[in-house]
């Protein structure tokens, strides 16, 4: 399984929790007779290009497995063509997967009939789209209430709930505007409100901020973080932007050509890249912003004076720099009263100056 590639110390943050969504060996193959590809060991082993030449099929998602824990922000990241958007659509069967399992709260979604699937989409999931997908002839309040309308809610209830959510995303005052009267960022807030209105269990985001300006994008990312704290929904977030992934994601799944390259927390990706592709990918990340003391501490030596300041292993390096540099002896990294290691001037300066760790 792909998550195995992640190294200790925190391979799966939520080992002890029951996952909300559990994906096993998921395939999506486009092309004639696509269903024979996952079953055939020979075809499944081919590279993307060989598969296209041999079987005229394109494998957008290949044997992907992962778990999403309740309440976490799970980011799927990859460049365009890596299969991430197809993957997220397979989870709610907006695109029909070719093979595999998607277990949601103990139920295999791929086996659900049309009615059950509609019910799940109406009550449990909702999605925010890259190009918003708003209906231009409806006002903001009618767009936000759209999902409720689809599931048959009455008009009064729709308006009440929509007004609530519009306030939540900071759009009050625009209830009766039309989408084309709003800026891109505000339109996506409408999309966000529409997704929240049905009070779903899981929110899917398909590159929601890629079409926005950098400044607006930052605002919207902060908005998502705020909303996540406020409503605590499980979120599956698709992006091609590494810094966005690191900023939002509790855990990140990196895809390439339909395969999982690595899955883990942000600091695992940066600290322990699974291969050269990941290493290349995370090369320009400011490491001090991502890595924690756990990644740079060294075992204490006999010569160390062990009465310096004490910090946890989860502290980000950037936040520890002042403490470490101000102390005249190494900082002790302590978890649950146990000494894990120490961090001195040399370790911190290595990271800030940009030297490699875990390479």
């Amino acid at each position: 399984m792909s998550t195995d590639t992640a190294v200790e110390p925190r391979g799966q943050v939520n080992d002890h929790q029951t996952p909300v969504i559990s994906v096993r060996n998921l395939w999506k193959v486009f092309g004639p007779n696509a269903e024979r590809v996952p079953g055939s060991a020979e075809l499944a082993a081919l590279s993307r290009r060989e598969l296209r030449e041999r079987a005229r099929c394109t494998a957008a998602v290949r044997e992907v497995s992962f778990d999403v824990a309740p309440g976490e922000v799970f980011v799927v990241m990859g460049l365009s063509g890596s299969g991430k958007s197809t993957l997220v659509r397979c989870l709610t069967r907006l695109i029909e997967p070719t093979a595999g399992e998607v277990v949601f709260e103990g139920e295999d979604i791929l086996r659900a009939d049309k009615k059950r699937l509609r019910e799940l989409r109406r009550r449990k999931f909702s999605m925010v789209f890259q190009h918003f997908g708003l209906l231009p002839y409806r006002t903001v309040v009618d767009n936000v209430g759209y999902g409720l309308e689809i599931r048959g809610a009455g008009r009064a209830e729709r308006i009440r709930r929509a007004t609530e959510v519009i306030e939540l995303v900071g759009l009050d005052g625009y209830e009766h505007s039309y989408p084309d009267q709003l800026s891109g960022g505000m339109q996506q807030r409408v999309g966000l409100a529409r997704a929240l209105a049905g009070d779903p269990d899981v929110l899917f985001f398909d590159e929601p901020f890629s079409a926005l300006d950098p400044l607006i994008r930052r605002d919207m990312q902060n908005e998502v973080i705020r909303l996540h704290r406020q409503v605590g929904k499980t979120m599956v977030f698709i992006t091609h932007d590494l810094s966005e992934a690191l900023k939002l994601g509790d855990r990140i799944l990196l895809m390439r050509d339909g395969n999982v390259v690595q899955a883990g927390t942000g600091d695992e990706l940066v600290g322990a890249p699974a291969d050269d592709y990941v290493r290349d990918f995370v090369q320009d990340v400011p490491r001090a912003d991502v890595l924690t003391l756990r990644w740079i501490m060294r075992p204490s030596r006999d010569t160390d004076q062990l009465d310096g300041p004490e910090l946890g292993p989860g502290v980000i390096v950037r936040d520890a720099v002042r403490t470490v540099l101000a102390a005249d002896r190494p900082v002790r990294v302590v978890e649950n009263g146990e000494l894990l290691g120490v961090v001195g001037h040399a370790e911190v300066l290595d990271i800030v100056a940009g030297n490699q760790v875990g390479a």
């Binding site: 509609r118 799940l120 109406r122 789209f129 997908g133 002839y137 689809i150 049905g198």
Partner: protein
């Protein structure tokens, strides 16, 4: 035409193949000329007007036996006759409402005041007050022209045809929009309906549905339904994906997806389809006068048959006005469908709606009850003034412009038409057939040659080979003129925005006019002759060709033209070396469309002296013993159309592939 384009653009490609092809065509033409001088006049397969072949007799017999079985055969009793009865009932019902005395009354249910009030009210409610004024003015004009009843007959038939077209067309269009399989199934059918010269299916229809309003309405809806289906399907298919996907993601059912996303998002396009359907229906209803449809078309035909230009002009004006009113009102309605009314206060609008509705209802009641509001008052002599004016202008033109018009007419007739007709029609049929097939192989491909061979065989089979060749000669001359106009005016419009702004509305107006109306000024200027028929075809086909060329020239990237200018090209060089070669696809398309449009005017041309196939079709409608021959002539027109279309398409494909060595 295709050959010249090919040579023009092929200077840098492989020389061997490029040079032999045009040489082969020239060689073929030379051989043909030599053979023609030797064999001229042999095996022409001429058929005198009153003579019938076995096929024609057989078709007459079919007609008779169909007529005899009309009240016995189950397929008639339970199918065709039922359709005819429903159509008749619908038409009679609407006619009774607005056009003809009905329900034991000496006048229709609604008189002129009621109709004008209701039309204006509907125009205002669905569109805006400006088009409502236009509609009121237009309808009052019909009365002043003394053509109230004829106009209402035309309107009644149009309304019924549009109603039935939309009743079936929009659901079929929605189905074609959401189902790929149905879309694949129906597209070739619609293609066929649209490439087939439209006046041709009148004949087979009369075989089944008799002559009269029912046949006319069915012919009209065959013509008017394809745009409704096609545009609705297009509207649904071009709805952007994101909102639809979002709708799915909320768990919408198929029905919700349709009613909440697809239909609202394609509303404007569908209303545009309604507009196209109405215009097509109006055009066809006037032409359906050929099979005894009541209304303005009939007035025009009768007048044309007696060369009474004045009366024809008066009725023509009414047709044009009706076209303008219907077009503007539905266009304005589609704009409103997209943008909303823009009224500041919906409550005031509701009040106004109710108020004006009451006024319209009162007017309707008045026109139901009182004669003055029912029959349009006499004394409006406008129609007579228009007729007399037109007659005066015609007489003046015939006396004073005779030199000019005769020169043009004789020039084209003597220089182009006569030689070509002699060449085509006086060659032995086997020589002519062979030339067509070989030419198709040379400028098109083998498949086109095979189609051409089959078509030649069918034309001989109809017994109307000679007439077909005469029609072909006229069609080619007309197409040549259409393409010439298309290139000259199209390039001008493509290069100059100002020319485009001035000319395009004229072309648009020309395209919304029912084809019939063109005949009136043409007959006025050139009287009844083969040349008049050609001019009518050219006037009908030129707007399409010009627009296609203009759009093609306009679509050439600015930078390419700029580069040519920077390289020091003068205007002529820019046109001939950059713009025309790059717009080659458009030129070919314009040629193809020009051909089809010209050919679809052949039957109409038969009314104004075209002779040949067009005449046979028209004669077939009016004289029972010529029915079979007319039907065969209709088939021959379709066969000619298919043959020319396939050859032109194959040539276009070939020249499309020609420049590829340059790119690789």
């Amino acid at each position: 035409m295709a050959t010249t384009t090919m040579t023009g653009s092929s200077t840098r490609t492989t020389p061997r193949r490029r040079i032999t092809k045009p040489l082969a065509v020239v060689g073929l033409l030379a051989l043909w000329l030599v053979a023609w001088t030797l064999l001229r006049g042999q095996d022409m397969l001429e058929l005198p007007r009153a003579t019938l072949t076995d096929l024609h007799h057989w078709l007459n017999d079919v007609n008779d036996s169909v007529g005899a079985s009309r009240n016995s055969s189950p397929i008639f009793l339970y199918f065709f006759n039922e359709i005819r009865a429903v159509m008749d009932a619908l038409v009679t019902f609407v006619q009774g409402l607005i056009a003809q005395p009905a329900y034991a009354r000496p006048v229709p249910v609604l008189g002129w005041l009621g109709v004008v009030a209701l039309v204006s009210y509907a125009s205002w409610a669905f569109a805006n007050w400006r088009v409502a004024l236009l509609a009121a003015g237009g309808f009052i004009l019909f009365g002043l022209q003394g053509l109230w009843q004829e106009s209402m007959d035309t309107l009644a038939l149009t309304l019924v045809a549009v109603f039935v077209s939309l009743l079936f067309g929009i659901p079929l269009g929605i189905l074609a929009g959401v189902s790929d399989r149905f879309h694949r199934l129906i597209t070739p059918v619609l293609d066929l309906m649209q490439t087939m010269p439209t006046f041709v299916y009148l004949a087979p229809l009369t075989l089944v549905f008799l002559i009269g309003p029912a046949s006319a309405t069915i012919a009209t809806l065959i013509y008017a339904m394809p745009p409704a289906i096609r545009i609705t399907a297009h509207g649904i298919r071009s709805v952007p994906a994101p909102p639809v996907e979002a709708t799915d993601s909320f768990g919408a059912t198929r029905r919700q997806r349709l009613t909440k996303a697809l239909l609202p998002l394609s509303k404007r396009t569908i209303v545009l389809g309604v507009n196209q359907t109405i215009m097509a229906a109006l055009a066809m209803v006037t032409v359906a006068a050929l099979i005894d449809a009541p209304g303005l078309g009939k007035t025009v035909i009768k007048a044309l048959q007696t060369t009474d230009v004045g009366t024809a002009f008066n009725a023509g004006v009414a047709i044009v006005v009706m076209a303008i009113v219907l077009d503007r009102v539905t266009t304005a309605a589609s704009v409103r469908a997209e943008q909303g009314g823009g009224e500041p206060n919906p409550r005031i609008r509701r009040l106004l709606l109710a108020g004006f509705g009451l006024v319209a209802a009162v007017c309707s009641y008045l026109s139901y009850t009182y004669l003055w509001a029912s029959e349009f008052p006499e004394g409006g002599q406008l129609g007579e003034y228009l007729s007399q004016g037109a007659t005066t202008v015609t007489t003046w033109a015939q006396h004073n412009l005779a030199d000019v018009t005769a020169a043009v007419k004789d020039g084209v007739t003597i220089a182009l038409l006569n030689p070509l007709e002699a060449l085509l029609a006086e060659s032995p049929w086997w020589l002519m057939g062979a030339v067509i097939v070989i030419l198709a192989a040379l400028i098109g491909n083998l498949r086109a040659a095979a189609v051409a061979a089959v078509c030649v065989g069918l034309l001989v089979g109809t017994g109307l080979w000679n007439a077909s060749m005469i029609t072909l000669a006229m069609t080619l001359v007309a197409t040549l003129l259409v393409v010439a106009l298309g290139v000259v005016i199209g390039v001008w419009m493509g290069r100059s925005s100002r020319a485009d702004r001035v000319i395009r509305p004229v072309l648009d107006a020309g395209q919304t006019m029912p084809a019939f109306v063109y005949l009136i000024p043409v007959v006025a200027l050139f009287s009844v002759s083969r040349f008049s028929a050609i001019v009518a075809g050219v006037v009908y086909a030129a707007p399409v060709a010009i627009k296609i060329v203009a759009d093609g020239v306009r679509a050439i990237p600015e930078s390419t033209v700029e580069a040519a200018t920077a390289a020091g090209s003068n205007t002529w060089q820019t046109i001939t070396k950059v713009q025309l070669p790059m717009a080659r696809q458009s030129l070919l398309l314009a040629t193809n469309q020009g051909l089809i449009y010209v050919l679809s005017m052949v039957v109409i041309g038969g009314l104004v002296g075209a002779g040949a196939l067009g005449y046979e079709v028209v004669a077939g409608f009016s004289q029972g013993q010529l029915y079979g021959k007319g039907l065969a002539a209709g088939v021959a027109i379709v066969v000619l159309g298919i043959m020319l279309d396939r050859i032109a398409r194959a040539a276009a494909q070939r020249s499309d592939r020609a420049p590829s060595p340059n790119h690789t």
